[in-house]
Amino acid sequence: MAETDKFAVQPHADATSQQQAHSLEHWRSHTGRNDIITGLRAMHVWLALGWHDIRQRYRRSVLGPFWFTLTTLVMVGVLGFMYSELLGQEISDYLPYLGIGMVVWQFISTAANEGCNAMIGAGSTIKQIRMPLTTHVCRMVWRNLVILLHSLPVVVLLMVFFGHSLTLEFLLLVPGLLILMLNAVWSGIVFGILCARYRDVMPIIGNLFQVGFFLTPVMWRASDLKERAWIADINPFNHLIEIIRAPILGTPIMLEPWLWSLALIFLGFAAAHYLMVRFRERVAYWL
């Protein structure tokens, strides 16, 4: 029997009109089929929850989330100083390149690792009230985007400091970040559900992303690969970083990274939707 049949919750006829005024549509009555859309649409919920997480983490800290800003500054400064020499690059070019790559990579890998924990971490809530599981994932993604937005401006400032100027392409940063975020959402759903069922997936993902860092042009450039440039060409992380890096650096905008990133969204959400339809109602049993 289909999942929807087993768990048919129709809002009370009289209540429907009231409910629309008081609470979100489908918030409780959603199924695996509309979990993702219901969760994504409830923006004010995950915005508030994610923001709350950030405030919570830094409630008694003087610098608060600006610790990320400082950490980025120190990391990029030191590594840029060292590796520009090691790789024989001009520091004024290399430092912004490295900085953007590192900040975006940090987002990708943290979102993936926390995505593994998205359902397990929200376990006590999932076992108490019914709300779209996607909310827990969006909360995590938004939290990490806030962190990203605390680090990225430093790199842009460093770039300006080294005498580069921003181009009109900089505006592409907005769709770029949106694409990055959506990719984090589907991967959070997929990893979150898989990790709830199979606890070994988490270390596997952790290891993959550790290795991924070295395979992705963050500290080095794709052009350094020469004959093995295909390693960067087929690396989705490279494309995801590129859609953020190119607009900021003002390097020529290629179509390829954007197509890759969009294709990833479609494939990823298809997988996430499939898992939701099949396993939405099982997740509570696995926690």
Partner: protein
């Protein structure tokens, strides 16, 4: 459509994943070797909490769930509140459900009282405007005053309960699901709390409450379902006259 709950052959089973079962290893081995190991790998021990139960609850029903520990009462309440979906069988419900299973659910000790009111509200799917409108009423009811601006970890356990109670009873529901009758606070607050709860219960079209207290069941319920080992042993109407007598006795 009227408010009602109907269950047909409702089954809830909890799979027990031991360490060896929970990993990918066995699934992978299952794929590669098939045969005997595969059979073992996929057969997790299962706890059947609810076993093919049928019931129908209509508007006006005040159902008391009774049974020993582990008889499936809480599981049934969680199924009704939408946390666990039936593994087999069918459950259909119409009406807005509110569950008071764990009142201090989702309380963040480091957040202030007001923040907790808001966070709980959005997790219940309420629109921000509605939560804001309710906040004053909740704050008033707790009687905590300026304490609501402090992190709740600074509260005494009694104060924490007051806040949790006020938040979770600020709902409007057609179907109210409760695990034991709530009672909180000192004598004065307790009285206030009882009348608030009475109002909430009287507004709901259906009440389902699990309790170990026969007097309470006799007082608030007009129907008693006895669960044991996940099956319904008896489902009987309670005579209101008899229950009045029992309540005064």
């Amino acid at each position: 459509m009227t408010v009602h709950i109907q269950a047909e052959k409702l089954c809830v089973e909890f799979p027990i994943y031991e360490n060896s079962h929970r990993s990918l290893k066995n699934t992978v081995m299952h794929l590669s070797t098939g045969g005997r190991i595969g059979m073992n790998a996929n057969q997790h021990p299962v706890v059947r909490a609810l076993n093919e139960i049928d019931f129908e609850i209509r508007e006006g029903d005040r159902v008391g769930l009774v049974g020993h520990n582990g008889s499936g009462k809480t599981t049934l309440l969680r199924v009704l509140s939408g946390v666990y979906a039936p593994v087999r069988g069918r459950l259909s419900m119409s009406g807005r459900v509110a569950s008071l299973l764990d009142v201090s659910m989702g309380m963040d000790p480091d957040a202030t009282g007001f923040e907790n009111i808001y966070l709980r509200g959005i997790m219940d799917g309420l629109l921000p405007a509605i939560i804001r409108a309710k906040t004053d009423e909740i704050a008033d009811f707790t009687g905590l005053g300026d304490y609501l601006n402090l992190p709740v970890r600074t509260y005494s356990s009694g104060m924490l309960l007051r806040l949790a109670f006020a938040i979770s009873t600020s709902v409007e529901a057609d179907i109210l699901v409760m695990d034991e009758w709530l009672s909180v606070g000192d004598a004065e607050f307790s009285e206030k709390a009882q009348s608030r709860l009475d109002v909430l219960v009287s507004k709901a079209a259906i009440l389902v409450i699990a309790s170990h207290d026969p007097k309470l069941i006799a007082k608030v319920c007009n129907r008693r379902i006895h669960l044991e080992h996940g099956v319904i042993l008896s489902d009987e109407k309670l005579d209101p006259v008899a229950s009045d007598a029992a309540a005064t006795a």
